[in-house]
Symmetry: C2
Subunit: 191 residues, 2 copies
DNA sequence: ACCATATGAGACATCAACGTCTCATTCAGA
DNA sequence: TCTGAATGAGACGTTGATGTCTCATATGGT
């Protein structure tokens, strides 16, 4: 049966196209479908065969981003040991998907309430729980709300990814810059 | 002469339109010229009489943002006393313009090299100098580059403004949340 | 070598936003 | 009250991106 091979090739290609699209759209969020196709090295018609339209492409990117972020959350084992170390692990795991997440973070404002993927709420909750645990265990300061720390994590990951793309921050420093700034701000100050 | 009155009214109105446009575009960066006009309570034709086109509107917003940011930098007296306190003052002064700056920060990626206002470089340098001074005086940690701390300031101000718009952070907490997180991350840790 | 499928290139209609225009109305100052 | 400028509403034409279509070609499996 060619169905197995067909399906496999499709998903592989689909994956590759999505990666390329994410990389391009992270830099230029208004990139044309034609530009996306060229960047992926395929024709515009083929791009439309994979994704019904621009909306479908963005939604697929959103889905991919949710998957990657969720995988990062799983791999980071947020409930193990100190919250600081868990946060460090999370940032490390987020690194490969930073571009995609940065794009989705700024683009999410466009999903005007009508159709927000419920996946984000679940992921938000997991991150929020980590900060809350850190606060309850006396590791993090309590005057910064978990919701804000969560928001700050996204913002710093996104802006650091953007700074790396623009050459203002070295790629190898991504984890250190993001983690240290956020941890320094979140950690409780010993008196 | 009606010219004086005319000019005054125009600039006043222009200012008001720009404010409204900034508030709207910060939430929905793809807002139509028609939506911008409606939001400002004027007709689309009138909007075009004030600003030659969408480009001109964005450029005017950019100019306004640069002005406001520069004024904030001046009022914050970045060279006085401790760098920490100067940074706190800066964030306080940025508060009123946070929405506009948040919009411009995310929108700047669209100015693809061809026409970047040189004003930003000057402002970047002033902020960067503040962080550098803090490092040289032993107040800030030196493993985070001034360029990254500058970027982080923009990112945190922007995302906090956005969080306030969405009700995830209380408006009165803007300064505290932003300043404390950034300062905690920037400050040198006593051993 | 053959055939089915996927692909790339391009043509085409559609559509939304833009920019320009006109015209009736409103409003402020003389 | 009169007059001229500014405004709002709307009617255009234009443009750029989108989505759909066809057809020739390439590719991969048999």
């Amino acid at each position: 049966m060619s169905h197995m091979v067909y399906g496999c090739l499709m998903t592989m290609d689909r994956e590759r196209v999505l990666r390329t699209a994410a990389a391009l759209l992270a830099r230029k969020s208004t990139a044309t479908m034609d530009e996306v196709a060229r960047a992926a090295g395929i024709g515009r018609a083929t791009l439309h065969r994979h994704f019904a339209g621009r909306d479908a492409l963005i939604r697929a990117l959103e889905q991919l981003g949710i998957q990657e972020f969720e995988a990062a959350l799983d791999k980071a084992r947020l409930d193990d040991d100190a919250a600081s170390d868990a946060l460090r692990r999370l940032i490390t795991e987020m690194d490969p998907a930073a571009d995609l997440l940065a794009f989705l973070y700024t683009e999410n404002q466009l999903f005007e309430g009508d159709q927000i993927n419920e996946g984000w709420a679940r992921l938000d909750a997991r991150v929020c729980d980590l900060f809350r645990r850190g606060q309850q265990q006396g590791e993090f300061r309590i005057d910064l709300t978990p919701a804000w720390l969560t928001e700050a994590l996204y913002a710093l990951v996104g802006s650091c990814a953007w700074a790396v793309m623009d050459g203002r921050v070295a790629k190898k420093d991504f984890q250190h810059m993001t983690a240290e700034l956020l941890l320094g701000g979140a950690r409780r100050v010993e008196k």
